[in-house]
Assembly symmetry: C2
């Protein structure tokens, strides 16, 4: 799931910046795969809980897997939302030229966050999981920069692009938040307590 | 938690429409209470799982409680976000006069949804839980109406109110979605399978 939602946000960002309709469509249709994986995980976990009655660290593991799955499924939705804005504005780009760099950077931070979260999940590495909070701060900074730009006096693109960028900014910011939640769940899984 | 987040969205809507700073502040500060309740629920559930090793319907109940708690905690955040927009624009109102009726209606649907979800949780009533999907459709309709209005040619309020309304619309729509998730969890809890 972490690989799929990383690929989804990466392709959604490209689709948005290049006004690539085919790529946008592929992000939207492939989200089904993430949903299917999550449904499988849920089924497996409920069966496992019913049959094996896990306790202590095992129980913590299945609960954590459910929570992570919920977050990752949502991240797939958010990448799909970004792709839908690209599709809606095709053949135009939803992003005015002077904001491309900021959106590109938000896409890269999103990818970076889910890459780190994914490797934390795989390696159960608490140190790298805790690093994500800082990367998320960088996302929040870029998000604020977007708003400053839209609300500046020399904004000449009108209301529609401002709305697109407001929503897109929110999608990236939520994507980042969910990555941090996944990482925090790694900390909980390994240590048994939540980061403060 | 359902009572607290219902009160929160109700007061946030009033704060927004009346530009009532004190009410907005109270919504924001009282969200802490929702978060604290959720932390208590989590602690209780993890202890209960470790000590009593629940199976079958009991296990389904604790898992469902965790999921519901996550959704309700998020709904508290969203009500807080609405209140923060009211606070940001005080002493002005973020909502232009001609859109007040739509926002009021969205607030009422949100309240209606969480009221129904809350009584479904209390009574484990599958029928009323399934009704929520229709109420959520009404929210989606109003959400689309907001966008049509902001994007219409005679929109005269500029970019800033358009952004506020874009975000506010998104908060109400997400609040509604989370209510539906809570109701779907009631269906799962009672029947053991998810509504299709």
């Amino acid at each position: 799931m972490t690989r799929l939602v990383r690929s989804a946000i990466s392709r959604a960002t490209t689709a948005l910046l290049d006004a690539d309709l085919q790529l946008a469509e592929s992000v939207i249709s492939r989200d089904e795969e993430v949903n299917r994986l999550f449904a499988e995980i849920e089924t497996t976990i409920f069966e496992l809980m019913a049959r094996q009655q896990p306790v202590a660290v095992d129980l913590r593991m299945v609960i954590t897997a459910l929570r992570m799955g919920t977050d990752l499924e949502r991240m797939g939705d958010l990448a799909g939302h970004v792709a839908k804005v690209a599709r809606l504005r095709h053949p135009d780009s939803a992003i005015p030229p002077e904001m491309r760099a900021t959106i590109l950077e938000m896409g890269q931070i999103a990818e970076n966050l889910i890459t780190k979260a994914g490797s934390s999940v795989a390696s159960r590495d608490v140190e790298s999981a805790l690093e994500l909070e800082q990367d998320d701060d960088a996302m929040d900074k870029l998000h604020r920069r977007l708003f400053r730009r839209i609300l500046s006096k020399d904004w000449a693109h009108g209301v529609e692009p401002a709305i697109d960028i407001t929503l897109i900014g929110r999608y990236y910011e939520r994507y980042a938040d969910h990555s941090v939640r996944v990482a925090r769940d790694v900390v909980y899984l390994v240590t048994g307590s939540r980061p403060g």
